[in-house]
Amino acid sequence: MPRALVFPVAGTAAAVPLAAAREVVVDPVATPLPTAPPSVLGLFDLRGESVPLFDGAPLLRLPGRSGRGYAVVVACAAGIAGLATEGPVDLVPLTGGDTPAVLEVEVLLG
């Protein structure tokens, strides 16, 4: 059965398919990027690679901002990125019923 990582984005539950997730980073330290839009929180170091950290709230047009306790690192064709969340991050089976809408990473970050 396919599984997903479920986490809050500005208080609203969101999910990404486990297949698109790489890892979860605790307390990512993001350096702000001058002139970036509000959805870009900055860059953080992931084993020597600078990875963009996104706030999913503006991307999903949700009110408020995401917390920054964790970064769910996701991969798509153009590279990897972190999605900021206040946590917790849970691994759940995709059963339909109670699962929140699963985000298409390519569409979200594309």
Binding site: V29, A30, T31, P32, L33, P34, T35, A36, P37, V40, G42, L43, F44, D45, R47, G48, E49, S50, V51, P52, C76, A78, G79, I80, A81, L109
Partner: protein
């Protein structure tokens, strides 16, 4: 015929191989032509070309590309005629060879080769005035079994993404080693620098990093074949005689930089042949040899590579440049000759007597300048009336390592490419009421770097306070920025930003520091753009700035 996935894979491999063989055939054809009328035809060169045509034919037959095989066979026939001395490499024959080489890639996509074969056969049938006697040893020999000259010894082709991954891992390893040193000091009170094995590891990782950067370096000559070809084809098209010369083609340059220079070089060469070189009669009348020379000299100068493209044509008419510039509202009063000739990089300005399909619309030299700025280089021009013109493209050896000045603004540390820093001044207030500084006798606008970067929560262009005012140049413009602190200079390993990010005009890239923090590297051109759009400064920056003779 059904093409299976396996066949498709083999065809892809064949196509990759064909690119290199065709490039060698093209280069060889031009070599043959340049030797024509001069010294003896290079026997080894024709041998090598024959082997390439032979391999193209065999490979095409194996992967079922019949048209490609047929054309390669016709190429073999032409080269065999050259080998045996029956034919000489006349311009017509070389034309036919080059046309076949140019058309070959389309054959891999199923195009019909009958026309190309007919052209090659016709070229063979053309009567020739002169037949070059080739060495006896060639006559009647089969395909040379033992290559006498391997054009690419010990070369392995590696996808660029693998080289990039290698570079990134080498950097990450060196950074991890530095983090380990900090961790040992913080947690175990151990000075890693006192441990011999640790020092050796640091040295090895440093060498690994350097070698990884070197994998991105390629000889300048590797991208110049189209340039050479342009000189030849364009000269023939406009009825001029031009000789191409390359010096220092083995000089190595970052592949990313070099690829971006290909178009500017093509543009400059088109201009040189179309507008620079005179027709043979005019040259004779001026006491010059009828054949003009277009020469590219490449050489490394410290951390930069200089590509000097010069021709011995008529030179730039500076008076005409000044008239054109004046007509476009540019302030040209008091410009030195060096500054005046640099006006050719101004958008829309052309001094060509006639607009042709190839050049003369005033589009191009400003683009050349823009490309050079993008690769953190600059272009300079020198010209003498009646003697010729030289464009010097000065570029960094590699984009990976960039000497930078580190500064702080609104609590954030940023790096500014040192090349763009004109000077740093004390942050004295302006006596003129404007937020300005005086540099080299010119008043320049000034604002807070934090405001230009949008880091200031209440952005204003006011530049008061700060520790210093940095004067930056993007080549055409200069602007001063006050910063909170200057933190020295050093080399920064710059990486482009993730393609997932939107384009950020004031940011050139980023670097992961040994302590895991991120250092943002600014783009001076984008920064000046943003500064000029700040409320309150826009009017002030309308005052025209004179061009500099350096368009960096």
């Amino acid at each position: 015929m059904t093409v299976t996935g396996r066949d498709e894979r083999f065809r892809r491999l064949y196509a990759e191989e064909a690119v290199h063989r065709l490039s060698r055939l093209s280069s060889g054809a031009l070599e043959l032509e340049s030797a024509r009328g001069g010294g003896p035809v290079d026997a080894e060169l024709v041998d090598a070309m024959f082997r390439d045509a032979h391999s193209l034919k065999g490979g095409a037959a194996v992967v079922g590309l019949d048209e490609a095989s047929r054309v390669a066979h016709a190429l073999e026939d032409v080269l065999e005629a050259l080998r045996s001395g029956i034919k000489a490499p006349t311009a017509g024959l070389v034309d036919a060879l080059l046309e076949a080489v140019d058309a070959f890639p389309a054959l891999l996509d199923g195009a019909d080769g009958a026309g190309i074969v007919a052209r090659l056969v016709a070229a063979l049938d053309e009567p020739q005035e002169r037949v070059v006697a080739l060495p006896e040893v060639w006559r009647g020999s089969a395909v040379p079994a033992v290559p006498r000259r391997d054009p690419e010894p010990d070369i392995v082709r590696v996808p660029r993404r693998r080289l990039d991954a290698l570079s990134r891992l080498a950097e990450a390893s060196a950074a991890a080693q530095q983090r380990l040193a900090r961790a040992l000091a913080d947690r175990a009170d151990v000075d890693a620098g006192q441990i011999g094995e640790f020092r050796q590891l640091a040295q090895l990782l440093g060498e690994l990093q350097e070698q990884a950067v070197r994998t991105r370096m390629v000889p300048v000559a590797s991208v110049l074949e189209p340039v050479r070809r342009t000189v030849r084809d364009l000269a023939r098209a406009v009825g001029k005689h031009a000789r191409w010369e390359l010096r220092g083609g083995e000089t190595e340059l970052d592949r990313g930089v070099l690829e971006q220079l290909a178009d500017p070089l093509l543009h400059l060469v088109r201009n040189a042949v179309d507008h620079g070189l005179e027709h043979p009669d005019e040259r004779r009348g001026a006491g010059k040899p009828p054949v003009g020379t277009v020469e590219l000299t490449a050489r490394q100068r410290g951390p930069e590579v200089v590509l000097a493209l010069r021709h011995d044509g008529r030179g730039i008419d500076i008076e005409r440049v000044l008239v054109e510039a004046g007509a476009r509202g540019l302030d040209t009063a008091g410009l030195s000759p060096a500054d005046a000739v640099s006006l050719v990089f101004t958008s829309g300005l052309s001094t060509a007597a006639a607009v042709t399909a190839l050049s003369g619309r005033g589009v191009g030299l400003d683009v050349v300048s823009a490309v050079l700025r993008r690769v953190r280089g600059r272009v300079e021009v020198r010209s003498r009336r009646g003697e010729g013109t030289e464009f010097r493209l000065v570029v960094p050896l590699t984009l990976a390592v960039l000497p930078c000045l580190l500064a702080e603004a609104a609590g954030q540390r940023v790096a500014v490419p040192l090349q763009a820093v004109v000077t740093a001044l004390p942050p004295a207030s302006s006596p003129y009421g404007w937020d300005t500084v005086r540099v080299d006798g010119r008043m320049l606008p000034r604002c807070a770097l934090a405001a230009a970067l949008g880091l200031d929560p209440a952005p204003t262009p006011a530049a008061g306070g700060g520790a210093a005012a940095l004067v930056l140049s993007d080549g055409a413009r200069r602007h001063a920025f006050t910063v909170d602190r200057l933190a020295g200079t050093r080399d920064v390993v710059v990486r482009g930003l993730s393609p997932l990010l939107p384009r950020l005009p004031a940011v050139a890239g980023a670097s992961v520091e040994p302590d895991g923090s991120i250092l943002v590297v600014l783009d001076p051109g984008g920064l000046v753009d943003r500064a000029e759009r700040l409320p309150g400064l826009a009017d002030h920056t309308q005052s025209r700035q004179r061009p500099s003779n350096r368009t960096s």
